[in-house]
Symmetry: C2
Subunit: 199 residues, 2 copies
């Protein structure tokens, strides 16, 4: 592989420009120029701008699905809920830029890659429904959505609170989400995981 092969470089430039400027705001010419090829050459490697976007977003969706699968496999106990929140938050933090794209560019992505978007919606629906617990009231369901939304703050936080250290962010958001769900404060280790059900 004498080249840092063009295909890979295109993807790298795309992820950078998409996440800094947005998807619609980034032209193929811009990407091509930065890579040092022509627009037409991009089309040799990726059949469309859409596919390029997919190549950027797919890894996040894959991991996110694993996180939701993992949560669903567990019984809905307070300790498990805490663990699931943590796992989801970490997944988001790991793919921070792709997540930000998803959030900032919702309309464009929705219009562009509908199937991927649909999967993401379905995944968050499953997560929310697990978080709401068995036979949930409307309030339980609302709280579940509110809790996941709370974790989403991790993504806007870089812009709003650049000086806050990541571990404190992580800890506080987890506590906030737990508070929304009516869980009491965390113990150091997840003990008595089978006691009373959450409010």
């Amino acid at each position: 592989m004498e080249v840092a092969d063009t295909r890979t470089r295109i993807r790298a430039v795309a992820i950078e420009l998409f996440t800094t400027q947005g998807y619609e705001q980034t032209s193929l010419r811009e990407i091509a120029d930065r890579v040092g090829v022509t627009k037409a050459s991009l089309y040799y490697h990726y059949p469309s701008k859409q596919e390029l976007l997919l190549a950027v977003l797919r890894p996040l969706v894959v991991e996110w699905r694993q996180a939701v699968d993992a949560a669903e496999a567990l019984p809905h106990t307070p300790a498990n809920v805490r663990w699931a929140l943590e796992n989801c938050l970490d997944t988001m933090l790991r793919h921070r830029s792709a997540c930000a794209l998803f959030i900032r560019d919702t309309a464009a992505i929705l219009a562009t890659v509908q199937p991927l978007w649909a999967e993401l919606l379905e995944l968050s629906a499953r997560l929310n429904s697990w978080l709401a617990g068995p036979s949930p009231t409307s309030a339980d369901r609302i709280r579940a959505v509110a809790a996941t939304e709370t974790l989403g703050v991790a993504l806007t936080s870089t812009a709003l609170m650049p000086d806050v250290p990541e571990d404190e962010l992580r800890r506080t958001l987890l506590e906030s989400a737990a508070a929304v769900l009516g869980l009491r404060r965390a113990r150091t280790r997840p003990v008595d995981a089978r006691a009373a059900k959450p409010a």
Copy 2:
């Protein structure tokens, strides 16, 4: 005014198409066709697509500013915090479609109408800083952002939980935001508004 004047009809069609399809995804031709005029005619009434977007978004920003101003004018007591959350939530609900546009189309709007966007950022910064209270810790600041984000659920809720009645949504979200901020459960009337400070 024999006509439901063209200018107004353009704006009405724009708000509808922008909010259902997104800003970038809506072409001027589409709007013009729906109104029954040509693209060029749009330009007589609005100097650019941007201006049309501004005309749609401006009312929300105006009211939002009033809500933040009102909050800042009050001392940071638990009762006042509750009242501010409520007021902000209601503002969002009143301008639900414009809010949704702002959230779904962030990247496009950011790129298109930077000054408006900047004002919105500044307003939410002010609101968050008021919510965090005087001399806040990092955790207080994070919680403030998490609480406002919680209210934002009102906007996604229509899609995720279409069957939940609005008043229950409103009540539960306010309680969730209060839980994030560490306020205890609401009394029917805001009594003893000057007692202990929130965690």
